[in-house]
């Protein structure tokens, strides 16, 4: 193979690394600004009303101040969550792009990644390795857990595709979808069974080690009399950095490499791609592998952030990530990023503010179903998603 010359290399880097990085930063800034502005506007409109008074008697500060003081932390949490959703959403959107089919079992692939990663860390913790590890070593073990989770999830996704989807590839649309629902349910209990037989319990906790729980102060600033301390936990930094690295890596893989070209070709037309000498089955397997690996990594990061995992944990993150994928335009990688970011932010906003703004009538307990409301709205008003193109329905 001929060596690529320098200008091509620069083009590759700008296409595969800088462009997605720029997009991510743009999305983060955009969603943060829009949502914050909306929130502050709402607080401004409602100032002086009964809601304001209630907020004052509950929190000791006016509604505006309450909104403002919480905003930076909410944004940081939202970004962290958004990255997790974006990573899961990539799995849905890649498979959809190639096969036009909702991989319902992706939420369990995500859970498998979480379990493998956490089990490895628990085992390491049990042998005392983690307790004596330096900070750098503990980061190393976390990376190992993420890689193991990725490998397990990716391979599992391939197996699922081979067993439950490939025989049904030419069947009517509903058939593989029902099979996928079945796989999802089957895997939930399969995880539970494996966990209970090997460890005796299926509710697991991410072991605490290293300095993941400590807070890094970012900035202190004063608004009027109150001093706002903005800080971010080390684990959130890890979630963001790991997700960033992988998202950029995926973009590079899909947009620059030869394999990525093959994936895009298969997504456009399977028959034409196979005429061009591409092994369609292998590319589809590979798509599942990559998508599953991303789900697995997201699983470990999710476990790092929320510490508690169980076999049914995948359901809500899965649905939200799917919503994110649809919102961004399913089949579109950039769209999945944008959708994940918006959804993660919205969810954190609802969790932080809904209770205060509705005077306690509805609170963060509704944040899990927020995704469905958004999904329905998106499907009604813009079924092609924010960044998707209008495509005709395939029968």
């Amino acid at each position: 193979m001929q060596r690529k010359n320098n200008s091509l290399f620069i083009k590759d880097i700008s296409q595969g690394v800088l462009k997605p990085l720029g997009q991510i930063i743009l999305f983060i800034l955009g969603t943060s600004l829009v949502l914050s502005a909306l929130m502050l506007l709402l607080a401004l409109v409602l100032s002086g009303t009964a809601i304001d008074q209630k907020a004052f008697s509950d929190n000791g500060v006016s509604l505006m101040r309450f909104t403002l003081e919480n905003l930076p932390q909410v944004l940081i949490d939202g970004i962290t969550l958004g990255f997790v959703y974006a990573m899961i959403a990539l799995g849905y959107t890649m498979v959809y792009g190639v096969l036009e089919f909702i991989n319902f079992a992706h939420s369990e692939i995500f859970a498998i990644g979480a379990f493998v990663g956490v089990e490895i860390l628990i085992a390491l913790n049990g042998s005392g390795v983690l307790a004596n590890a330096t900070v750098l070593e503990s980061y190393g073990w976390l990376v190992l857990a993420i890689l193991a989770g990725m490998a397990a999830s990716g391979i599992m996704a391939m197996i699922v595709e081979r067993i439950a989807y490939r025989p049904l590839r030419n069947a009517p649309r509903l058939v593989p979808l029902i099979s996928a629902v079945g796989v999802s349910f089957f895997l939930q209990d399969a995880i539970r069974l494996t966990e209970s037989l090997t460890t005796g319990q299926f509710y697991r906790v991410f072991p605490s080690f290293g300095n993941f729980d400590s807070l890094v102060p970012l900035y202190n600033f004063a608004i009027g009399a109150s001093n706002i301390k903005l800080s971010i936990s080390v684990k959130s930094i890890w979630v963001i950095v790991a997700a960033l690295v992988m998202l950029v890596g995926l973009n590079y893989l899909v947009n620059v490499t030869k394999v990525g070209k093959a994936i895009r070709a298969v997504a456009q037309s399977q028959s034409s791609a196979s005429l061009m000498g591409i092994n369609v089955n292998r590319i589809i397997s590979l798509t599942f592998l990559v998508g599953g690996a991303f789900g697995g990594a997201a699983g470990v990061l999710y476990a790092l952030k929320f510490t508690q995992i169980n076999p049914y944990m995948g359901f809500f993150p899965g649905i939200k990530a799917f919503t994110a994928a649809v919102m961004g335009g399913i089949g579109n990688l950039t769209g999945a990023l944008l959708g994940g970011m918006i959804l993660g932010m919205l969810e954190t906003f609802v969790g932080a503010y809904l209770s205060t703004f509705t005077m306690g009538a509805a609170g963060s307990e509704y944040k899990d179903i927020l995704a469905f409301a958004i999904l329905i709205l998106v499907l009604i008003f813009r079924p092609s998603g924010l960044l998707g193109e209008q495509v005709a329905q395939k029968a």
């Binding site: 089919f101 909702i102 439950a164 025989p167 049904l168 069947a171 649309r173 509903l174 058939v175 593989p176 979808l177 029902i178 099979s179 629902v181 079945g182 796989v183 999802s184 349910f185 089957f186 895997l187 939930q188 209990d189 399969a190 539970r192 069974l193 209970s196 037989l197 005796g200 319990q201 299926f202 359901f315 649905i319 799917f322 649809v326 306690g360 009538a361 509805a362 307990e365 509704y366 899990d368 179903i369 995704a371 469905f372 409301a373 999904l375 329905i376 499907l379 009604i380 079924p383 329905q393 029968a395």
Partner: protein, 483 residues
């Protein structure tokens, strides 16, 4: 060797088959089989194989070539006389019979949506929830608890409505669920098939979470604790006593009022199912049913033929939902307790697996599917759990690998693994037999070439192939008319 054996056995099989073609012989066989299995269940009320054999008699009545009158006679005796008596004798069976009847109703409703129109509805229990909570709210003291903290006792002992308004609420539940289905369908039925699945799934979760959280600001649902003390319609005490005494020598004890309530709800569910089947059959053989089928087979073509696709889908969605609503009212009264837990996503998938197992679009198939799944879920898995527990306590050891049963993890409890069961059913059916155990008649006919169809004189009680071809012609005509 086996080849010659099978060749030798073939004429014997043929003779047996021809013997069964005679409706009188089949009738006699059905009676004898029912009698034997009834006696088996009666004398060994805890044996699972006997119970399954007994349940198979229901299928036998359906499958054997008898006249409609003969089928109705045997079926009625089985459903109205034998099952209640067997059920009162072993009350857990009566619970199973009620579950089978109830879930058959739900599955028949879902079958309209998934089987007839080809829309995947993963949130079907939402409509079941609507019906259940409707009667739970009006049939309990919840009306007096609107501003009370969940879990407190109401100050009054009165109920808001008399118990017998239950019968009215059966119809209200039907109507309300249909309305909810209509309102949900209005925006979402325009989206394509696989999105619809996710949207309905979301709707199911929205309903469950809402029911879980509507204990504040106004306490409508009592939150996660659920609504208790839901009224049941009044059974006349004199009749209960008389029947209890009358049945005492047969069932071994004087049946209590509670047991009669179980029988009552079983019979009620049976009536509702008959009503549902009637509606479904009439709909399916009408212009609406043919339009549904056309939409299922090819939405674009159906639309091009002038079928208003969205409104027909909407009709299917609300009709399916309404059946869940009426069953929900029945469920709330029979349990006297509802909580959001009963309406999880898993329930929706359970009903879906019944429809898929039995056969999409096939009424007897769906009922068979419901029966099989319920028996697997509530009997086979439970029995497996009991068996494993027995092994654990027995102190036995597996010889070769030297594994003591005692060390078997207590987490290995098959009764807890319903999701695995439902999942396995869905996957296996999709891969190996997507049309289900008992595929619908018309589709079977469609799949065969005309020369392969069964000669009409062998199926006197069913519609003959020639009639079916006529139907297809009708359909084309109807569509033409609609255009």
């Amino acid at each position: 060797m086996t080849n010659t054996l099978s060749k030798r056995l073939q004429p014997i099989f043929a003779r047996i088959a021809s013997w069964f073609q005679n409706s009188r012989n089949a009738f006699i066989f059905a009676i004898v089989y029912c009698l034997i299995t009834t006696l088996l269940v009666y004398f060994s009320p805890r044996s699972l194989p006997d119970f399954i054999l007994f349940l198979a008699s229901g299928y036998l009545i359906f499958a054997l070539k008898m006249s409609i009158k003969q089928k109705a006679l045997v079926g009625a005796v089985l459903a109205l006389l034998i099952i209640p008596v067997v059920g009162i004798r072993n009350i857990s069976y009566l619970g199973i019979f009620f579950q089978i009847a109830m879930f058959s109703g739900l599955a028949l409703g879902l079958n309209i949506v998934v089987g007839f129109t080809g829309m995947l509805n993963l949130g079907y229990t939402a409509f079941f929830l609507v019906g259940s909570y409707l009667w739970a709210f009006f049939g309990s003291q919840q009306m007096f608890m609107l501003y009370a903290i969940p879990g407190t006792q109401p100050e009054t002992t009165q109920y808001y409505l008399p118990a017998n308004s239950f019968y009215l609420f059966l119809f209200l539940g039907l109507g309300l669920a249909a309305l909810v289905g209509f309102l949900l369908g209005l925006p979402v039925l325009r989206v394509r098939g696989d999105y619809l699945a996710i949207v309905t799934l979301g709707f199911g979760e929205v309903m469950r979470v809402t029911a879980n959280n509507l204990d504040h600001p106004i306490n409508l649902t009592n939150g996660p604790q659920g609504i208790t003390q839901i009224q049941r319609p009044i059974l006349p005490a004199g009749l209960v006593q008389a029947l209890g005494n009358f049945l005492a020598p047969v069932v071994g004890h004087v049946a209590t009022q509670d047991e009669f309530y179980n029988v009552f709800f079983y019979l009620l569910a049976l009536i509702i199912i008959l009503f549902i089947i009637l509606v479904v059959v009439r709909l399916n053989n009408s212009r609406i049913g043919r339009a549904w089928m056309a939409i299922r087979e090819d939405e674009l073509a159906a639309g091009a033929m002038g079928i208003p696709v969205v409104s027909y889908r909407l009709a299917a969605f609300s009709v399916g939902a309404s059946f869940a609503g009426i069953m929900g009212v029945c469920f709330a009264a029979s349990q006297t307790f509802v909580s959001p837990e009963s309406f999880s996503f898993m329930q929706s998938i359970g009903v879906l697996s019944m429809v898929i197992l039995g056969g999409l679009g096939s009424i007897p198939g769906v009922i068979l599917g419901a029966t099989v799944v319920i028996v697997l879920n509530f009997q086979v898995l439970q029995q497996l759990s009991l068996w494993l527990n027995g092994l654990r306590q027995s102190g036995g050891v597996i010889p070769i690998i030297n594994f003591a049963w005692q060390n078997l993890s207590p987490q290995l409890d098959p009764a807890q693994y319903q999701r695995m069961l439902f999942g396995a059913i869905l996957i296996l059916m999709m891969i190996y037999r997507p049309e289900g155990i008992l595929p619908p008649k018309l589709r079977k006919h469609e799949r065969q070439t005309p020369s392969e169809t069964v000669p009409s004189q062998l199926t006197p009680s069913e519609s003959t192939p020639t009639e079916q071809t006529g139907e297809v012609a009708d359909e084309a005509e109807a569509e033409h008319g609609a255009a």
